[in-house]
């Protein structure tokens, strides 16, 4: 035969699926676009600027760190873009840009790269960044009223009209007044950039489920746990209202759909994922009910992140063929 063909030899399998890290991250970015659009509409152009800053900083720090340490350049996998987006989504629109940059540094360099980069970090970078930024508590809990900007393109934060979020009412054991559940569902409430619109988040979540980027195990077990507990132990006398407000408010949906499902920081076993979701749900309600701060999503996910290794170890899948008959001595023991 013609020897023009130099044959390649490599171990099987010889074909691979199209999907790679980059396409997965791109799907996550697409899923986050509706929320970004809603928050830009609610909080004005500054929301977009803040997001651009966190994304830019995250990508820059990732590139810079790996360049300095002469490691492979990974920014093409788009994971830093996702971290930047999610970090911005955790911030109030009035966050000074330099504080956002500090958050990006902490997320990417301290939480992600110091542990070895993508897949090696044990805490969600965006959430850990947000937790770190609570060093500026006032900045992190200044909530701007929805659609209160004087001009859409204004970047000034001084003249913003502040408001209480539904979550702060819930924290005081009251159902929010002056806002309807519908307004909250579509995002006309105060809050961090990405968490305001339950509708946009659910839309993104459905996209991720359809694209099979995430499985429903973590989000559903998380949300169901919160739903069940808040329904059984309501503050006030309307179980259903209390439950729905709890589900729609704060960072719960953002956390359940986009943060708790972060691959690096969630279990890989099916059982483990359900345990993880339930754990997040229990901790979230616990912190919301008994904590000093109204929101519990960030810390509950971070705490569960730290347990992932243990959960995986405790939920090793059953060995193929090991049930039924009494266990036979395997051949390899011979």
């Amino acid at each position: 035969m013609d020897q023009a063909h130099k044959l390649k030899v490599s171990p099987s399998p010889h074909i691979r699926y199209l999907e790679d890290t980059r396409s997965i991250m791109l799907d996550v970015i697409i899923a986050l676009v509706p929320s970004l659009a809603v928050s830009t509409y609610i909080f004005g152009f500054r929301a977009l600027v803040l997001t651009a800053i966190t994304i830019g900083c995250c990508v820059f720090f990732e590139w810079g760190y790996r360049k300095l340490l002469k490691k492979s350049n990974d920014i093409g996998d788009l994971s830093a873009v996702v971290t930047g987006l999610l970090l911005a989504f955790c911030l109030p629109v009035t966050t000074p840009l330099w504080i956002a940059a500090v958050g990006a540094f902490f997320s990417i360099v301290v939480v992600k790269q110091l542990f070895g980069g993508i897949g090696k970090n044990f805490m969600n970078p965006a959430l850990a960044g947000r937790a770190f930024l609570f060093s500026w508590p006032v900045v992190m809990s200044t909530w701007v009223a929805p659609l209160s900007y004087k001009s859409f393109f204004s970047l000034k934060t001084a003249d913003a009209v502040t408001t209480a979020t539904p979550l702060s009412s819930l924290h005081m054991s009251q159902l929010p007044e002056g806002t309807t559940l519908m307004q909250s569902f579509f995002g006309q409430v105060g809050g961090s950039l990405g968490e305001v619109s339950a509708f946009a988040l659910i839309l993104g979540g459905i996209y991720l489920l359809v694209r099979r980027v995430i499985s429903p195990r973590i989000p559903l077990s998380y949300l169901l746990t919160v739903a069940v507990i808040t329904f059984i132990f309501p503050r006030g006398n309307d179980n259903l209202q209390w439950m729905l407000w709890n589900l729609c408010s704060g960072g719960l949906l953002l956390g359940a759909i986009f943060m708790a499902t972060d691959y690096s920081t969630s279990p890989v076993t099916k059982k483990g994922q359900i345990i993880f979701g339930i754990g997040c749900g229990l901790l979230t309600v616990f912190i919301r009910y008994f904590g000093a701060y109204p929101e519990g999503v960030t810390y509950s996910i971070l705490i569960m992140n730290a347990c992932v290794w243990l959960i995986d170890r405790a939920t090793y899948p059953r060995r193929f063929g090991a049930s039924g008959k009494p266990k036979k001595e395997s051949k390899s023991d011979g």
Binding site: M1, D2, H5, L7, K8, V9, S10, P11, S12, P13, H14, I15, R16, Y17, L18, E19, D20, T21, S23, I24, S72, D74, D77, S79, G117, I118, G119, S215, Y263, S264, S266, P267, V268, T269, K270, D312, Y316, P317, R318, R319, F320, G321, A322, S323, G324, K325, K327, K328, E329, S330, K331, S332, D333
Partner: protein
Amino acid sequence: MLRSFYGGIHPDDGKAMSRNIKIEILPAPEQVVIPMSLHVGTPCEPIVKVGDNVLLGQKIGDSKNTISAPIHASVSGTVKAVEPRLHPNGRMVMSVVIDSDGKDSFHADVAPQKEKCQSDQRAIVDIIREAGIVGMGGAAFPTHFKISSGLGKTETMIINGAECEPYITADHRIMLESPEEILSGIRYLLKAMDLNRAILAVESNKKDAVRLLREKLGEDKDIEIKVLRTRYPQGSEKQLIQSVTGRQVPPGGLPADVGYAVFNVYTAWSVNRAIEQGIPAIDRVVTVSGPGVTEPKNLRVRIGTPVSKLIEAAGGLRDNAEKIMMGGPMMGIPLFDTDVPIIKGTNAIVALTGDENRSVEAPKCIRCGRCVSVCPMNLLPIYMYLYERNDDIRSLEKLNVTDCIECGSCTYICPGRLHLVQSFRNAKAKLNAQKAKTGQA
């Protein structure tokens, strides 16, 4: 809902390239190289010398060991050499080289054996052994030994017509073109194992074959045809048993441990031919396909034909062909030399182009867990990989790395492009090395 096994993947099967192409007979080449290791088990000893005249179907190699199968001349002619030659597995293996005289004159032993097996089941096993029939699905385990070792323990026979690897259509074609022979072969196998029921399992992408087989079966109840979900690795023995019966073969065990014996459809076809016509395993159907081949084909070729002849018959390689493998793209052996011969387990020659492997410079695990969800053996590839990288032998053992069937599903699906299966092969080797060391101490 069609039954299936744990996990699995569904790659683009590429079978459309060759599923409608009739089996074509490739004339015997001028020279065949027949390795004395065409099966799992002890290699045969050559029983012919240089200069001997041999006839088609004459036994040229045999072994006294039970886990072995005799080897026959696939052409008539003169023995040119008896020397080590390159085997598809990459090693030099003792081989018999025969120059064909172009006459294809049959040996006197090649005669119908039907009368012999009317009464005695043992006779069928002997005919199968003498015909050198091995697992024709690719595993090449000697069929006579599978029968005799499963005797008494087996309750039901499963015939494997899944053919789950992409591109391969050899079994599909044989089911379409000789359904009666297959059914007859299954009945001989049933008789040999003293059983009365067989399940013929076919993947749902071969509906035409299922229809035809059902039609030929008519009212007979001894063979049941089951349609399985099209999902890789459906045709793997353990997975097939799970899909068909819901039962799992215990770790390190054999199908007989749960009461099943599995044979390939092509094995059944070969058994029928060996009994009805007396022709031993001297040829087989091979699919030549893949995006790197100009004109995909299903060819009936003699054992010992060089791979290059098959590629030639399929119109040659395309310019962008980069890789040729014996077997499918999931588990096939990559070839670096196309002069290696076709062996009994060769069901396909697949040529791939450059863009199918999608390898990257720095593979990285993102802990997505896809490998865990596709693993048909319920393993944790992600952690096995980690432990292998860290030489943590004890943890590897705890995660049952030896259960890995190397189907490649995890590697196929991995978005980080990790070389998972490769790592588990290393892990098994490390485990064995450790065992050997502690054994000596």
